[in-house]
Amino acid sequence: MSEDHHNPTPPSPIEQRVAALEELLTERGYVPEGFIEDVNRAYENDIGPMNGAKVVARAWTDPEYKARLLTDGTAAIAELGFGGPEGHYMKVVENTADVHNVVVCTLCSCYPWPVLGLPPKWYKDAPYRSRMVREPRALLAEMGCPLDDDVEIRVWDSSADARYLVLPARPGGTEGLSEDELVGLVTRDSMIGVARL
């Protein structure tokens, strides 16, 4: 970003449009003071894949928690303090040696905000949304997640009110790690289902 205040880059058309709507709605009293910061602050600081990673690590280390998580995802995730918009009805699907789950929203970009934060650009763009239901095995391989032919793929198109979290399989050789150490192994992509750990 330019620091040259004498020749600032003129605002782009999209910046001008956003500013126009923001200013007009604010002048008319529809945007409370501090609203823009308040709406976004949590997603820029506290809410993101680190939340989902805690859920996954707990499930890997506590079989009873894992059973609750797979039965009632919303309640089990709430046990760790996570919930809110786009997380009111959570379903958790488990990856195993034989089954691989992957999540998409073909109609918009539905995504479990409380456990993964706001979605990455590729999840919202047309290539992923169009192709994951049509050619999941080819697309997963293309995205760096090749699967053997005998691994069943289950694609979940989250087109209604349920939001999906993939429970990745625990990597081998991690038996000696603590729950906190396991948290650090869990990636966002593994919880969407476009990567295995």
Binding site: L21, W122, P127, R129, S130, V133, M143, R154, A160
Partner: protein
Amino acid sequence: MHDLGGRQGFGPVVVEQDEPVFHADWERVARAVTFAAVANVDNPSTSKFRHAIERMDPAHYLSSSYYEHWLTAAATLAVEAGLVTPEALEARAGGPFPVSQPVLVDDVAVPAQRSARFGVGDRVRVRNMHPGGHTRCPGYVRDKVGVVTSLEGEWNIPDVEAHSHARVPDAVYSVRFSTEELWGDGEPGASVNVDLWDCYLEPA
């Protein structure tokens, strides 16, 4: 144009490494202003907001990013609710401010609430439907046969919620479709589960 499942020709998925939550300040402002706008329209709902995105000019939809979709929907709903005028938006923006196309349905049938008709294991066919308004029934499953794998409770029918003050809860099922059923030449060993309202389905 938003209904993208199975559409071809979009090319590779482009992954941005170390992507920030927002790429520019306008994205975070657009996100918040959208919530502010939607909260101040008549009969607000997620369905109504989604439909405002779905009404975007198709070429604009495909050539703009997620938060531009949000901004366009927010401006559209704000204009339609009388919170701002198109002229004021364009004057303030110093240029064109495209908004979405008008709502095409002025009245939707409000079905009576009914109990779930299907159970786990039932074969169902998705109705061959093409509503002019909002729906959450993806095009690629219409007229296809799948199997109910779970019941997901009752949720308001979005097709009604987007266009009416009525709220009609209806059973939602997770329905599994084989890729062969969906695409004819689908990849072996794969299935797609879609969450579908009871009113989208008929016995198969």
